[in-house]
């Protein structure tokens, strides 16, 4: 299967005065797994639907390989889509659902059946071919939707929050399975989610969107550790945004940068665990909460700003004994202190 790169070139879309996509440009490489991540209303689904052909952009261009698909009808785009609510045909059984795109292509009956069955086996649904879709569990429906989207070997796959209706354990299993399927097929995939963890686990690259714009596009690690805006920093996890003035370096040197981001889990309570170029934050313990794998401490700095400090339970021997109101210091290694390029916006 030959997968294709996708080019999104200054695409905009407005609904009345509401701007859903604001001059979005994005290049997705052939075979890449790219996630559009953002809160609801950020434009990620609109962008996906524009690629699928269900939303007509106001301006801009969409290219699949070298081909301009901006004005191409959805049924000619050769794109597999997995919908949030699965969109399985209720009047067809599992096999008929999966064989549907093949039937449209006039594939001989026997071959279509055989290919549909093989695809069902690939998503671990062997033996359910004759089942009515209404009789399936959420996870099984998800797999049928997946099988149906890949059976006709599209060159691009779009997934619109496909796991949001599943419970947590199943969701995690499916994350790995979808990623493995992608690696097996090598198909260019654009995945939409509002779950930052899911995006981190699954993606080659993540494009974080907000208010119709792409805030940052990068690898999961860089998005998490080196966010380019405050929005990205806070959306990706528990981030503390502090001014250089509120921290001091252990070695006495000036902390540089305009706005610093330190993730809650970057802190240590023991100065011996960090280097001499680490920064220290001093304050009063406001609250503490045990969260299973870690403790979450809320520290009020002298300036009044609150900072979240997350200590792994394995390293948090003394956390249970800490009392609210007591003065304490948290240390973060220099490598984990990130200067956000943008100002305190």
């Amino acid at each position: 299967m030959k997968s294709l790169p996708i080019t999104i070139d200054s695409v905009s879309k407005a609904y009345g005065s509401y701007v859903a996509l604001d001059d979005v440009s994005l290049d997705i490489q052939a075979g890449e797994f790219l996630t559009l991540l953002g809160p609801s209303g950020s434009g990620k689904t609109t962008l996906l639907m524009a690629l699928a052909g269900f939303v007509r952009p106001d301006s801009g261009k969409l290219l699949l390989g070298d081909r301009d698909i901006t004005r191409l009808a959805p049924n000619k785009r050769d794109i597999g889509i997995v919908f949030q609510n699965y969109a399985l045909f209720p009047h067809m059984n599992v096999l008929a659902n999966v064989a549907y795109p093949l039937a449209l292509r006039k594939t001989p009956r026997a071959e279509a059946r055989q290919r549909a069955l093989a695809t069902l086996a690939r998503v671990k649904l062997d033996g359910l071919a004759e089942r009515n879709v209404a009789a399936l569990s959420g996870g099984q429906r998800q797999r049928v939707a997946l099988a149906r989207a890949i059976v006709f070997e599209p060159r691009v796959m779009l997934m619109d929050e496909p796991l949001s209706a599943l419970d947590k354990n199943l969701r995690e299993t499916m994350q790995y399975e979808i990623r493995r399927l992608h690696d097996d097929l090598g198909i260019t995939t654009i995945y939409v989610t509002h779950d930052q963890r899911e995006a981190l686990i699954m993606s080659d690259r993540i494009a974080v969107m907000n208010s119709g714009r792409i805030q940052q596009i990068d690898t999961p690690q860089r998005i998490y550790d080196r966010p380019s805006t405050r929005f990205v920093a806070e959306f990706m996890g528990e981030a503390n945004i502090v001014a250089p003035g509120s921290v001091r370096r252990i070695d006495g040197a000036e902390a540089s940068g305009e706005t610093l981001m330190i993730r809650a889990e970057s802190f240590h309570l023991d100065a011996k665990l960090v280097g001499s170029d680490a920064v220290a934050l001093e304050g009063i313990l406001r609250a503490k909460a045990f969260r299973g794998e870690n403790w979450l401490l809320t520290l009020a700095l002298d300036g009044g700003q609150e900072v979240l400090v997350c200590i792994p339970a394995a390293l948090a021997g003394g956390c249970a004994e800490l009392a609210a109101g007591q003065r304490m210091t948290a240390y973060a290694p220099a490598a984990k202190v990130h200067a956000i390029p943008g100002a305190m916006a």
Partner: protein, 295 residues
């Protein structure tokens, strides 16, 4: 392990069920009074002579009359013709309404429903004004030179059919529109993304999923059409005589309650037969859609 049921709680459950069942009593009473009793009375009538003795003469008289059979054929022609036109006109209209933006759909729906708020007699005479030899339509046709002679649009089968379709179309449209509007738009998007053309989407997704609505609409149209009286009586001009007008004539012209009752029973039997056929058709349809999609 067995659970001992507290008799008081079981009693509560029973009382609750009984209360909800009892809500249907007024309706059951009315149905019994207004439908079942009269039917039993008609069955009895059909076996009585004018003198009040039991006989099967009414049946032999009515069933051996050629007029009865021609009325039966007319009834079927009118009903099935009306249904066919309703399906041909109503299904695309319902599809248009269901795919229109909500505001446009509501406006169009208001136009569709408008005739339902007008008395049927008024509407029927309205058609008379339009369809007559010197009516608006013929005046326009001859005036513009499209036809040399006025077309025979009324006091015949055509006129009756036009009037009946006009009455039945909204009744057909409602369930079909409801069924189509309930189709998840993502199903249509999914089909398109897999390569389905508009025609294929309609054939493989929209039609199978609105079959239930089309079926309900068809049942309603047939039930209304089979016993329809006013429109054939006014627009048929005495030349279109389904069972309903025969019954009226038997009663008002000949005061022949026996024959009228037999004709009424004939109507009932016809309706029952059509009901059975429709149910069979639906079962067949359901099987076919699954089989057809089994590519």
């Amino acid at each position: 392990m067995t659970v001992t049921v507290d008799p008081a709680l079981a009693g509560d459950a029973r009382r609750e069920r009984r209360f909800f069942l009892s809500l249907s009593l007024p309706a059951l009473f009315i149905v019994g009074l207004a439908a079942i009793l009269p039917i039993l009375w008609i069955i009895r009538q059909s076996f009585l002579t004018t003198g009040g003795e039991y006989t099967v003469a009414n049946y032999s008289k009515v069933l051996s009359s050629g007029l009865t059979w021609s009325a039966l054929v007319t009834t079927l022609e009118l009903s099935l013709g009306t249904l066919a036109i309703c399906i041909l006109l109503g299904t695309p209209l319902a599809l248009a309404l269901a795919s229109a933006r909500p505001r446009v759909a509501n406006l169009l729906m208001a136009f569709v429903m408008l005739p339902l708020w007008t008395a049927i007699l008024v509407r029927t005479y309205g058609w008379l004004v339009l369809l007559r030899r010197d009516g608006l339509i013929n005046a326009a046709l001859t005036g513009s030179g499209l036809t040399a002679e006025p077309l025979p649009l009324v006091y015949n089968f055509t006129g009756t059919l036009i009037g009946m379709v006009h009455y039945m179309l909204p009744l057909f449209l409602l369930p079909v529109y409801a069924a189509m509007r309930d189709i998840d738009p993502n199903l249509i998007r999914a089909a398109a993304s897999m390569g389905a053309t508009l025609g294929q989407v309609i054939r493989t997704v929209i039609m199978p999923l609105s079959a239930g609505g089309i079926f309900s609409g068809s049942v309603i149209v047939l039930i209304y059409s089979i016993g329809f009286f006013i429109t054939p009586a006014v627009l048929g001009g005495g030349k279109v005589n389904p069972l309903s007008t025969r019954i009226e004539r038997a009663l008002s012209t000949f005061q022949d309650w026996g024959s009228a009752s037999v004709l009424g029973i004939l109507l009932l039997v016809l309706m029952a037969l059509i009901g059975v056929m429709l149910l069979a058709a639906r079962r067949l349809l359901a099987q076919n859609t699954v089989a057809a999609s089994h590519a």
